[in-house]
Subunit: 347 residues, 4 copies
């Protein structure tokens, strides 16, 4: 099988990572590669690391260009996907790396975003344990898929087994996560300059105002079978890639550490992309760089009766572009990990 | 006044920072500078950044050498301070940067450390708001002072006002902090190599096993006037210095954000070393590098009714050596900030 | 074809990178994975980034274990390869990532190393333009290959075309290069601690004493057809991977910039792993991370009549493990780039 | 003495460093603090590390505001100093941190800059050994001083003794330097984003086109007493501050390493800000962070007969703001190092 795959919004970091991964995908031919203000430029001047694609020229992002592909990845600023998707034929597989189709609640969307609510698509996190049904089933053969946000991926997978098994309370979840700067994109903002970022940790979006909060809660609610509320504090770390998330929840009375571990083992035993590390070993973001994998560990702080789960992902790979390709594979009926690596680039 | 001040354990990072700060202290003459295995070496080969002291030779750490000084800073591995302190004359001011005299509970000590409990000394955090009494009073003129640990400094000051004013519950505190690698000292461990650390975030001591946990709880209990339990997760960040701590606590029913802010304003209005930033501005570790200052912000996550307080310190300055000099000044009756800078080195 | 490939010395950084690349090689089955002091450990505890190999246990490095493989990569400290190679059957392909078989001059070896000279093997830099013959021919079907050092790879390819075409003088070459810390290996030395490395640039091995100097000169002499002398200054940069080398040579009278560019274009037009960037674009190490590629640019500083060539490589990939796999492919008659990526991991 | 000192252009990195140092200067009162587009903002929102100045509001940069100060530091984009300086009274000390008054040759200026040549002021590098005269004498009591560029400071001091003593040829000097990103200022350019900079080394301005080239040559010519030409390659390193420069020159026949060392010892024996390290010890940028000091080492690569001198400075301190304050002290007749630290902030 050779599938012609387009990347719309190829000049951003997510677009670049999609292309990097597509180069290694044996069943894919890279089709249209498009951008907005960067249209007309050589890809080599935008993503000099993509050596084999250096002489490709970025086309303009529009439906006419994209329609000639079997599948299209959208890596656009929020609010741009719906209009474009509406103009593409139904048989073209569309996998949206943006936020537009992730939220099932119009209220949540309008509370956190400034554009019109566009509805929701199947949510591209096949490993999510659900109170009802199977998330992977919703993705097999789907032609419209919403790729999860980077923070929600690592955080959801870190807490879902405990909530899914009724081991933790859903109403006092506390999450603190550190992200590499690529999560903030390529925007030219003073606080993202290298001089500001290197040697510094800083928080942002504190107090429940980060846009990934409703997505995290939506995911966890689907795992728990009941509403979930979480306090989420994201921080910016002096590294280009990677998210380390510390997620804690109050344990239900009587739950033992062994029950917790069993819940995690059973949730992910058959999931190659979610690795529960041996007891006592904690994840590091360096170990998952460029890999479509989550490294995960969980323990219980007995004195407070809190579960502490820590996950590491690469925000651009399992956090965005790798997940998108995993979704493409599910959509097309290919082996789910085709073209994806589970080994990170370290040191 | 010229005070002759010794640094015992000068070859470590805390010792180096003490010397850097003492060089700028107008009332101090640097006296004995000692080490254990590094005795006999030029200081220039251990701390090449201390240019003016490069040709000093490290003496051996022993009571005879140290007794000839007016004041002695101890920057030793835990378990070494008590024996040495016992051999020094009572009029020599001893300021211990290690853990040995911080904990008031012998049980806590023996649970977390492997040496004999040595008792406790006045705790060198003058800004700590207490349920009863005034911490600064305990330090004025004291000749034995225990300098706080680096994590406890930033975390305690971030939560103490809320607990001191009865605004937050003391029994479900969740703290996640990121520290630069100098906090782990100069020990030659594989996970501290530059190749491992750069580009990576990693947790350690998860689940209530970090030795700073009882110190944090002790401090907060003194602010709250009742026992406090906290879940503390430290992480290692790809930077040499700095701690960013996110500390959260459940608010008492009915407490408003305005009450929270007032509590913090009143706690620190007269404290030059603890800066509550303007609303909406969050601290960055880069801004406090080399400075004897805490940058602090607090907000309320209304949906969970959790207070979220974030503090940034330099683990080696306000977190160790700067605090030690602040204590020396209090001991000697000097203006408290003599020789200390509140401006960080940025970018 | 499925080739069973062993990695001896798998616990170091070169060994880890070999395994990472072998996981992606479609014609290879990973055979024996061995170590010295780390034998018996899980690979997951040594290289946690190699998720798919986490449960492999390191065997002891010895000829008996290694003999059962079709090919063996040696990633050992210098001085250990010869004895081991002598015990392996001649039909086992041996590709040595260490220095032992690189130098053709026993005098050079004994001047720079403290072990006995072991002779030389075909030198695994197929792209090296020679005054006589073709380096790639020496590698096709070879069963003993010496992989180039990391610095020599980038530097040789940056200067060889000019010397090969007689455009530059061979006797006053000046090279300054910056390397990531992984080039220094995993050894537990104080100057390699993260706290020391981050935020700092430092030189080492200045004044012609670095062991890669004779290898650089040997390579360039083979390109020039005459002896070459070079002053080489390596520096350590605050990054885990990558080498940026600035290599300069005095131009022969009358040589024009256009002649220089033509020489480089003709040298590398057919070499996919050596990319001469468009004029005015300079290489960055980030763009070649994890890739088996050299990014290269050259210009002329007219006032001094010096050629300035700048190259970027990943010291562990094209600088070591990627080159080793390229050599394996040549040895086995596979397409030269099988299993190798030319796209870097950025940002 | 209390001198009222203004900083014009306070919102940039040089301006911030000037203020950081002025806070520690015992004879100075910080006067006007001005900016262009940032006028009206709180200093705390621009330079949050300057805690004691957080509530200062930036005034507009104009002569009226500045005239009320005893001394004015200009930290402006090039081309802006002359017009402003012309409007200030002659008795106001003006110390220009920009390039405008550094070059003595109008031709050099117009070749490298796009604004009108403004002439030259006494050059603020008191340690520069001259073929004729004494540079420090030109600065004592001067009311107009041009502060050296950051690269020229470290490079000039690394080569000047050899040229001054006639030990090295002036016509084939090769320099490669690595700078932290703060040297590029706060401009919002994509290649300066943290995601691009971290983990990467990259060159720029290669081939004699960097604006600091004529300044380096001018300085070295004054030391040599004859014209000097140099090939200068600057690179950007993944760190916020610091410059490591490797400077090489061809030795004159018959010159011995001992003569070289003697020349450097005699040049700097009485200069506290230029430290020739003990033989075999090489400088690191981390050791000079925030310090008004150059760490320097020199050796001879005998095979090529090249002198290799390596210097480390902080581009913002001895490279800009520290030098400016050193000049202020010379201008005012204060002890030259008043308010300056020679100890770096490490680790």
């Amino acid at each position: 099988m050779t599938v012609r795959v387009a990347v719309a919004g190829a000049s951003g970091y997510a677009g670049g990572e999609l292309l990097r991964l597509l180069l290694a995908h044996p069943e894919v031919q890279i089709g249209s590669v498009t951008a907005a203000s960067n249209a007309g430029q050589r890809l080599g001047s935008i993503h000099p690391h993509l050596t084999p694609l250096a002489d490709r020229v970025l086309a303009d992002t529009n439906a006419e260009v994209l329609a000639g592909n079997d599948a299209v990845f959208l890596a656009l600023p929020h609010g741009h996907s719906a209009a474009l998707a509406a103009q593409l034929p139904p048989e073209v597989v569309i996998i949206d790396c943006g936020a537009d189709f992730r939220l099932e609640s119009a209220d949540n969307w309008t509370h956190f975003y400034d554009t019109a609510y566009a509805g929701s698509w199947p949510y591209g996190l096949p490993e999510l344990p659900l109170a009802q049904g199977n998330q992977r089933d919703a993705l097999r053969g789907a032609t419209r898929i919403a790729v999860p946000g980077c923070y929600p991926t690592g955080i959801t997978l870190a807490l879902a087994p405990a909530l899914n098994h009724g081991l933790a309370h859903p109403d006092d979840i506390v999450i603190v996560a550190a992200s590499g700067t690529s999560g903030a994109g390529k925007s030219l903002k003073p606080h993202l300059l290298g001089s500001e970022v290197m040697g510094s940790m800083s928080p942002y979006g504190v107090g429940g105002v980060h846009r990934h909060t409703p997505e995290i809660e939506q995911n966890l609610a689907r795992a728990a079978g009941q509403p979930v509320t979480a306090s989420f504090t994201p921080t910016l770390a002096p590294m280009a890639r990677g998210i380390l998330a510390t997620s804690t929840a109050k344990l239900v009375d009587g739950v033992t550490p062994a029950q917790v571990r069993d819940a995690y083992l059973s949730a992910y035993a058959a999931e190659p992309c979610v690795v529960l590390l041996p007891e006592g070993v904690w994840p590091r973001t360096a170990d998952v760089l460029g890999a479509n994998v989550v490294h995960l560990q969980v323990t219980v702080d007995e004195r407070l009766r809190r579960l502490v789960a820590i996950s590491a992902i690469d925000n651009l790979t399992k956090g965005t572009a790798g997940a998108a390709i995993q979704c493409l594979n599910l959509s097309l009926g290919l082996p789910e990990l085709t073209g994806l690596s589970l080994a990170g680039l370290a040191p």
